[in-house]
């Protein structure tokens, strides 16, 4: 057993308002510079939608992540490193700028400098890559709030298998937001794809970084990352990616995206895991087993034996304490409401998500249930506007059971807390129905709803 510490994040999508503050503060701090105009270490996607870069989740096209060979051994989906070295000068699995978008700006100076003319001056758009006038056709967030999705949305890779359940019609509209940063995986394909060995995982906290001195700009990492969260700086010719704000995290400040999240939906915490068990877990045959397999890799710092072993292996006592109180650990391990994004990529991602709960009474009523009954209202998860299968395609390799369990818990929490809110006796049966006690339910409520700063990070 090799105990390691990993800095991890959980985002509660149920609280995400899709405001993109995280994207802007991140970009201002990190990528607001030449060569990085199109780069958003943090971006927010409207789902259903195509994402950024477009259709990045279609690994049949991009070949990112790992796959299980016939021999049951893990291999890079994009081909092994030998194959990569052979194709190093022509990488067909690399998204083109059009798959991201061509960044643009405007001739703002014309507004002040325009000579006397016949019409009011205007700032025209031009490309930040070529300097040529352009007419924007796609952007980092082009389908925001479902703009154009009635036409483009069918190409959302997450609709695979549920095409008949999703209609892009007014009455059936649904959407939610998916904020994304680098997953800082336990089993990162970017690192494994790098011919230069420039990508490394920090020993102390698992943050995945590109060594700017060693990067040679081969861009194999970009192809290798199934989340497409490594970007090519076309000015320096090197790869760059989300750093989990290590200069901040090291001194005890949350990442920029987390601290500036006005939805208060991001949690940061430490996880202990057994590095020796990662490969086996990532090699779990059944994709549906990957979620639980990854959970099994995590170690319980409250287990005295684990804590002692961790200390023996050199993990500092205050880090072990941090792992014990980690809100991320509670959400992933104790309440089991957080799920990994695309476990089927087998990279063991470490940014997890609480899926969105959006009960709509109309939908409940259509099932023939009495929608006025609070029990039905909060319990009728199968009738949600957002199809469970869509969420399952994102978070559990298509297995709807864990997603339903999470949503059941959130719904039960609302129902349970309503009695307390109205100063009535709480109904312990509600908590028991989702395998929790009332006390646990109130603790989870505190973490999710009251969510004080010091409890989020």
């Amino acid at each position: 057993m090799r105990i390691m510490a990993q800095m991890a994040m959980v985002m509660n999508l149920d609280k995400c308002i899709g405001c993109h503050t995280c994207s802007v503060t991140c970009k201002q701090a990190w990528t607001n510079r030449t060569g990085m105009e199109y780069v958003w270490f943090n971006n927010v996607e409207t789902r259903p939608g195509l994402g950024y870069p477009r259709r990045y989740e279609d690994q049949e096209q991009w070949k990112g992540g790992w796959e299980l060979g016939r021999n049951g051994r893990l291999k890079l989906k994009g081909g092994n490193r030998f194959a990569k070295l052979a194709t190093i000068f022509s990488n067909p699995k690399l998204p083109e700028i059009e798959d991201y978008y061509e960044p643009w700006t405007y001739d703002y100076e014309n507004l002040l400098n325009a000579p006397a003319s016949k019409t009011f001056p205007v700032a025209r758009p031009h490309s930040l890559l070529t300097g040529e006038p352009m007419n924007p056709q796609w952007g980092a967030n082009w389908d925001d709030d479902l703009g154009g999705t009635y036409k483009t949305g069918h190409a959302d890779p997450m609709l695979k298998g549920i095409e008949d359940k999703v209609a892009f019609e007014f009455d059936k509209t649904f959407m939610f937001y998916l904020p994304r940063i680098c997953e800082h995986c336990l089993n990162p394909t970017c690192a494994a794809s790098c011919p230069s060995g420039a990508i490394y995982k920090r020993e102390e906290d698992g943050i995945v970084l590109v060594d700017q001195n060693r990067c040679r700009g081969w861009r194999m990492c970009i192809s290798g990352c199934p989340y497409k969260k490594i970007y090519f700086n076309h000015s320096t010719g090197k790869a760059e990616k989300c750093t989990f704000c290590y200069p901040r995290v090291e001194v005890g400040i949350p990442t920029v995206c987390a601290e500036t999240c006005v939805g208060r939906l991001r949690y940061i915490g430490l996880m202990l895991y057994d590095a020796d068990a990662v490969l086996a877990a990532a090699s779990t045959k059944d994709e549906h087993g990957l979620y639980e397999a990854q959970r099994a890799v995590f170690l319980d710092p409250n287990d005295p034996a684990i804590a002692a072993e961790a200390e023996r292996q050199g993990i500092a006592p205050d880090w072990i304490e941090a792992a014990k109180t980690s809100p991320v650990r509670r959400l992933i391990q104790d309440y089991k409401v957080a799920l990994p994004l695309h476990p089927e990529y087998r990279t063991m991602p470490m940014v997890w998500y609480i899926p969105p709960l959006s009960p709509i009474v109309d939908a409940v009523r259509e099932t023939g249930e009495d929608a006025e009954d609070a029990g039905n209202l909060f319990g009728a998860i199968d009738a949600l506007r957002i199809p469970l299968e869509y969420l399952a395609n994102l978070f559990t390799a298509g297995d709807v059971t864990p997603v339903r369990h999470v949503l059941d818990k959130l719904a039960a929490m609302r129902s349970y807390m309503r009695d307390i809110n109205l100063e009535r006796e709480p109904n312990e049966d509600i908590a028991a129905a989702v395998g929790m006690t009332g006390t646990e339910m109130q603790e989870m409520f505190r973490l999710l709803a009251i969510a004080k700063y010091e409890e989020r990070y």
Partner: protein, 1234 residues
């Protein structure tokens, strides 16, 4: 993991070998399986460490017109602002609640881009053609005022520079030159036309009070008119003064947490209240049910348990139906004691209304029965005509309760202005077994074309003398169609009665929302209120508030929150969130902004009315006022009149202010008064009667009545708020425009306003804008002054979304030649004072003041019965039937001294807010020490300095109860004399506290409970409005002193709007001949055109910001449904063109299935600066979102002089509503040209 799996590993020996080989090149540890390389942090990562480094962090915020009021950390490195992130140090909202951190949004996060952006205004600019003229004129005439006169008095020159407005050709000027031109134009205007021909506009003081106060103070000191904003933006919910007698007072967002049931009705919280939205998402976890009314699948629908996709503008139908359900189930079928007790004590529902005979045994609701109407003990008391009566069950007789408007003023009311009912037992209904009942005729507007008709329903009655009376509650049940046994009239047969107004089934035919859903939501809302003693809340927003008939929509919603006892309760009631920003230290701000420390009264103008008249939009009204009245059920007040006639009547009656006031320079008028030997009142009334003096509004196109100088700061009038933007460009500025409307035909022209055949173009002589970025307003301006950004000055900021005061502090000094607004107006006032020595000296100014709310003026109109002196129905009496007239002396050579010091007038007069006067001498003494005093021999000698942002901020905070505990307790003690109830304990915990600038730089600081507002924060409580009214029995500022639903003013009755009622969007086909909705012709498809607030901008700010442009699609965008798009061959991202009679927009289409059919959104304030091509319609630059709209004045908004329907600045006035518009929309076919 299963044991049947093979040994885990990588895909083959070759990979293993290659990965293994990598270990030799790196000293870093790798995993035993060679998958990953581990390194300790701290090597090879200096690039990002260096990127993160900074020298200092400064606390500031964004003074944009936004309620966010978020405190930010601004990072500075090497003297350069690098980026910003949110502060997280707000004082706690409590151990068991979420917190306010980290307030912010993507717009604010992108602000620092402006600092060094290519759109930054770095130097003063003047349009070259004008600057050349001025330089030439200066060479000829040494005196700049004479030089200015030589330009504007030359029609050819004037036309040349005015018609060049907006068309480039700006050149750099020096500060001296620019300021001299500005001062010369002002002096010339004052001398030639009058000070009230100068106007200043800067909105929303709360967002940066010092900056707002700068130009406002200067404008007020010289006698210029400050233009209102809240009503102009259509953000003022007129229902608030109508019902509450209050401008707007709402819960802080932390109070959403306390609600058990939350409706978001036309308020898209995630978008428009981004920093506060989390309170809603989190409160759901407490079991709060969330319901959304929205025509589209808006961002907040994501969070809703139920979505009611109501047809745009029909919300009042939904509100009426919900009221129908609540009244029936919770008042008639199963009376709910909590609701009954609440409505008896806190609403006008038990008050009596006289019924007027309408022939054939039919009656119409008439006036409130008041003490002066009938034989009772109070009949001869002071203000008896303003003491409404209710029916006392104890005595089985009418009675006059305490707390009415009549008790609010005068000696006799002392100690009686309270809601203590004593032994009175008010009856809600007069229904009694064997009791008398009559049929009343009520107006209704549910015909598809909006035309009026009537319904007949019965009410129980009693007799008081020879009068037949009923209660407001009984009328309300009749209005809402809730029948009771024994009453005559036609009633709905049940909820499923589609023709019976106002049932759930009836509303479905209008709103498309299923009847059963409405029934359920109404029941749940009320049941939750009953279960929680009033913790049901409605968040309402611009989606329901920007319509012509929004006051009605809101009254139906306020009925719901009020009859269920939710107002004045934490977690309950109305939560109006549209531009409602709250200048918490309002008294201190008002003293500074209006120069009340030197001279009173200031000129304060209703901006909607100002532009309706001065941009000549009144000339394009093609309907009579009577078309919008109740006709049959009304009282004929509007017969033969058009809207502009009503506006002129309101102005001359002193209801609403009007500047310019007379067709004579008010300085000349003062000279004439003095020469006549008469007092101002007699002189003016005599001249008016003779016709030798006229109101300017009666001939607005005569050159002596034009506005001449307009100053804009913190504002983008021409790129944003100008409803009817193209009319502004045409008539006000005299430049290119796209007005395509026909003028009124002869028979539809005003009777009381002179019609000049040729409408003037280019009325303004000088347009000045202070800004840090280019907007349509700077583009159109003659002079642009470079302003400091919000990261470059000292100021203060508050909102009603949270209870804190917090500052702006400069991260860097204003760069290039930019200056703070305070410093810019100091320079202007200096040069102005110098030029005034020769041209003006000391003059007397006649200021016409309207009848004011919160003053005895509100008792000018008994029974709200309208008498017009112009038609000889009554004499013109200043302060009663026409404006008050006040002679104000102005030493124009001392403006700079006055601008820069706290004046002496407050020492003797104190400050007055909402009729509570406070002695501020202790604060003045404090300020002398805090700010230091002026030395020298000027008028400012010995007075506290106002020489920088900090000093002004300290002064604002020292003079307001919310920030000076002593003034709060003193104000409450003053108020206690009037109410006779205990109040001052609410502020006692902060008696000795004055919040200082240094304190708020340290941390945002919560405000103090003060009589300036209606709720209490005492003991760290979350703010909810009217808790003081409910808990301390302090009356509302209305006729009855209660929350007031029956409005008996003649004009309300003329409109058929005495009671809450449904009226749909205006019929633009009928009024203006626009194509009917859905029609397809060569101009495309006719669609409803709405302009909701934008995700990627705060008004026009940030819309040009690089980050927002790249996160949205950039440029101007119009959202439409795929169904409408397909009908006229439009695909997503196609270029489209919108054309109606008001203007033309050229934008790109965002086609989406979340949009309802028949309605398009051009999100708010997309200026014409970014990626706007020349239109294919006229080859000119495309317009802004408000190019498609125009001003439409609703007569109910310009009533004055009667109880809560009386003017106060930004409290009551016509709204710049803009939602009722329609447009044609088609695909652009011409090639794109810029």
């Amino acid at each position: 993991m299963t044991s049947t799996q093979p040994r885990p590993g990588l895909d083959g020996p070759l990979s293993d070998a290659l990965l293994g080989a990598g270990r030799f090149f790196s000293k870093a540890p790798t995993t035993p399986d060679n998958r990953a390389v581990f390194k300790e942090g701290g090597r090879g990562d200096w690039f990002y460490r260096d990127r993160w480094a900074y020298d200092k962090v400064v606390r500031s915020t964004h003074g944009v017109n936004c309620t966010g009021s978020c405190s930010w950390k601004v990072y500075v490195k090497d003297g350069i602002i690098t980026w910003e992130a949110q502060q997280t140090d707000y004082p706690s909202a409590g151990p068991d609640k979420p917190e306010y951190e980290p307030r912010g949004c993507p717009r604010g996060a992108a602000f620092s881009w402006y600092t060094y952006s290519p759109t930054r205004v770095r130097y003063p600019y003047v349009r070259g053609v004008l600057l050349d003229m001025f330089r030439e004129a200066k060479a000829e005439h040494a005196d700049p005022v004479v030089a200015w006169a030589s330009i504007v008095q030359d029609p050819e020159k004037a036309k040349r520079y005015k018609s060049a407005r907006g068309k480039g050709g700006l050149v750099r000027a020096t500060w001296d030159e620019a300021v001299e031109m500005i001062a010369a134009a002002q002096i010339y205007t004052i001398k030639r036309w009058g000070p009230d021909r100068i106007a200043g506009f800067s909105p929303i003081p709360a967002m940066s009070m010092v900056s707002h106060a700068s130009g406002a103070r200067f404008t007020s000191l010289i006698g210029g008119s400050m233009l209102s904003f809240y009503d102009w933006y259509a953000d003022l919910p007129v229902a608030s003064p109508q019902v509450f007698g209050d401008q707007t007072d709402v819960p802080e967002s932390g109070d959403w947490w306390d609600a058990g049931y939350l409706i978001m009705w036309g308020s898209n919280v995630p978008l428009t209240r981004t920093p506060d939205a989390h309170w809603m998402t989190e409160a759901r976890y407490r079991g709060q049910k969330v319901v959304v009314m929205s025509p589209d699948y808006a961002e907040n629908v994501k969070f809703a348990d139920e979505w009611l996709p109501v047809q745009p503008g029909t919300d009042a139908a939904l509100g009426m139906a919900m009221g129908h359900v609540v009244l029936k189930e919770f008042f008639v079928d199963r009376p709910t004691p909590y609701f009954e007790n609440y409505t008896r004590a806190y609403t006008d529902l038990p008050f009596l209304v006289t019924l007027d005979a309408a022939g054939d045994g039919l009656y119409r609701p008439g006036k409130n029965l008041v003490a002066g109407d009938f034989d009772n003990t109070e009949a001869a008391s002071e203000n008896a005509m303003f003491k409404p009566a209710l029916w006392d069950a104890a005595a089985d007789a009418p009675a006059i309760p305490n707390g009415t408007l009549g008790h609010r003023f005068g000696e006799e009311g002392l100690g009686k202005w309270n809601l203590d009912l004593g032994d009175l037992r008010p009856e809600l209904t007069l229904l009694a077994e064997g009791g008398e009942a009559v049929e009343v005729e009520l107006p209704i507007f549910d015909n598809p074309d909006g035309s009026p008709s009537t319904i007949r329903r019965g009410v129980p009655v009693r007799r008081v003398g020879d009068r037949l009376v009923t209660t407001v509650f009984d009328l309300m049940l009749a209005q809402y169609g809730v029948g009771r046994p024994g009453l005559p009239g036609a009633w709905p047969t049940g909820y499923d009665d589609e023709t019976g107004a106002y049932t759930p089934a009836w509303q479905e035919t209008i709103t498309n929302v299923p009847a059963a859903q409405v029934e359920r939501v109404a029941r749940e809302f009320a049941q939750n209120a009953a279960d929680t003693q009033g913790r049901s809340m409605i968040l309402m927003g611009a989606g329901t508030n920007h319509w012509y008939h929004s006051d009605l929509i809101y009254r139906t919603m306020l009925m719901l929150t009020t009859i269920t006892g939710c107002q004045g309760r934490n977690g309950g009631g109305w939560a109006h969130y549209v531009g409602q920003e709250k200048a918490r230290p309002i008294t201190g701000w008002a003293q500074m902004a209006f120069g009340l420390d030197w001279s009173r009264p200031p000129r304060q103008m209703i901006q909607t009315g100002y532009w309706y008249i001065n941009t000549d939009q009144w000339r394009y009204d093609t309907f009579t006022a009577d078309e919008l009245s109740a006709q049959g059920a009304g009282n004929g007040q509007f017969a033969g009149k058009v809207t502009a006639d009503l506006f002129a009547q309101s102005a001359r009656s002193g209801w609403m202010p009007t500047y310019p006031t007379f067709d004579r320079n008010p300085l000349t008028l003062a000279d004439d008064v003095k020469a006549s030997g008469l007092e101002v009142g007699p002189y003016v009334t005599r001249s008016l009667k003779e016709g030798s003096l006229k109101f300017a509004v009666e001939d607005p196109d005569a050159e002596e009545n034009w506005p001449r100088v307009l100053m804009l700061w913190r504002a983008n009038l021409f790129g944003n708020s100008a409803k009817g933007d193209e009319y502004f460009l045409k008539h006000l500025l005299g430049t290119d425009n796209a007005v395509n409307a026909a003028e009124s035909p002869e028979h539809l022209r005003p009777k009381d306003i002179t019609w000049r055949e040729q409408a003037p173009e280019g009325k303004l002589d000088l347009v000045l804008t202070l800004d840090f970025r280019m907007t349509s307003s700077t583009l159109m301006s003659d002079v642009i002054l470079p302003a400091a950004t919000w990261y470059e000055k000292h100021d203060i900021n508050t909102t009603d979304m949270h209870p804190f005061v917090h500052p702006f502090t400069p991260a860097i000094n204003p760069p290039w030649q930019s200056k703070t607004d305070w410093d810019s107006f100091a320079l202007i006032s200096q040069r102005f004072s110098e030029l005034a020595e020769h041209h003006l000296g000391t003059r007397t100014d006649v200021v016409a003041v309207p009848l004011m709310h919160d003053s005895p003026d509100a008792m000018a109109t008994p029974h709200g019965a309208v008498l017009d002196w112009k038609s000889g129905e009554i004499d013109p009496i200043p302060g009663v039937t026409m404006p008050k007239l006040v002679m104000v002396e102005r030493d124009y050579t001392k403006i700079a001294e006055k601008y820069g010091a706290v004046g002496p007038l407050m020492d003797t007069l104190g400050t007055t807010t909402k009729a509570v006067t406070v002695d501020v001498n202790s604060a003045i003494t404090y300020l002398k020490g805090k700010n230091g005093v002026r030395t020298g021999a000027g008028v400012d000698a010995g007075r506290p300095k106002l020489d920088n942002g900090i000093n002004v901020a300290e002064t604002i905070m020292a003079l307001a109860g919310t920030t000076n505990g002593h003034l709060a307790t003193q104000g409450f003690k003053t108020l206690e004399k009037r109410t006779g109830t205990l109040l001052h304990d609410l502020a006692a915990e902060h008696e000795g506290k004055i919040i200082t600038f240094n304190e708020i730089v340290g941390q945002p600081t919560p405000v103090i409970t003060s009589p300036e507002w209606s709720g209490s924060e005492s003991g760290g409580r979350r703010y909810s409005p009217f808790t003081i009214n409910v808990e301390r029995l302090k009356p509302w500022h209305t006729l009855t002193g209660r929350q007031h639903f029956y409005l008996d003013h003649d004009w309300m009755q003329a409109l058929g709007e005495a009671l809450p009622i449904y009226r749909g969007p205006l019929n633009m086909t009928q009024l203006f001949g626009e194509a009917p909705l859905g029609e397809i012709n060569e101009l495309g498809v006719s669609v409803r055109y709405l302009t909701p607030h934008f995700k990627w901008a705060i008004h026009s700010q940030y819309q040009d910001n690089w980050f927002m442009q790249n996160l949205s699609r950039g440029g101007q965008q119009v959202w439409m449904s795929e169904k409408d798009a397909e009908r006229v061959g439009i695909a997503d991202n196609d270029w489209i063109e919108l054309v109606n009679r008001n203007g033309v927009v050229s934008a790109r289409a965002i086609v989406s299935h979340r949009m309802p059919e028949g309605t398009v959104y051009m999100y708010h304030s997309q200026d014409r600066l970014i990626d706007v091509p020349l239109t294919e319609t006229n080859g000119r630059r495309g317009g802004i979102h408000n190019s498609m709209t125009r001003i439409l004045i609703k007569p109910s908004h310009i009533i004055g002089g009667y109880a809560q329907l009386a003017f106060a600045f930004n409290y009551l006035g016509p709204t710049g509503n803009n939602r009722d518009e329609v447009t044609m929309l088609r695909k652009r076919t011409a090639p794109l040209e810029y």
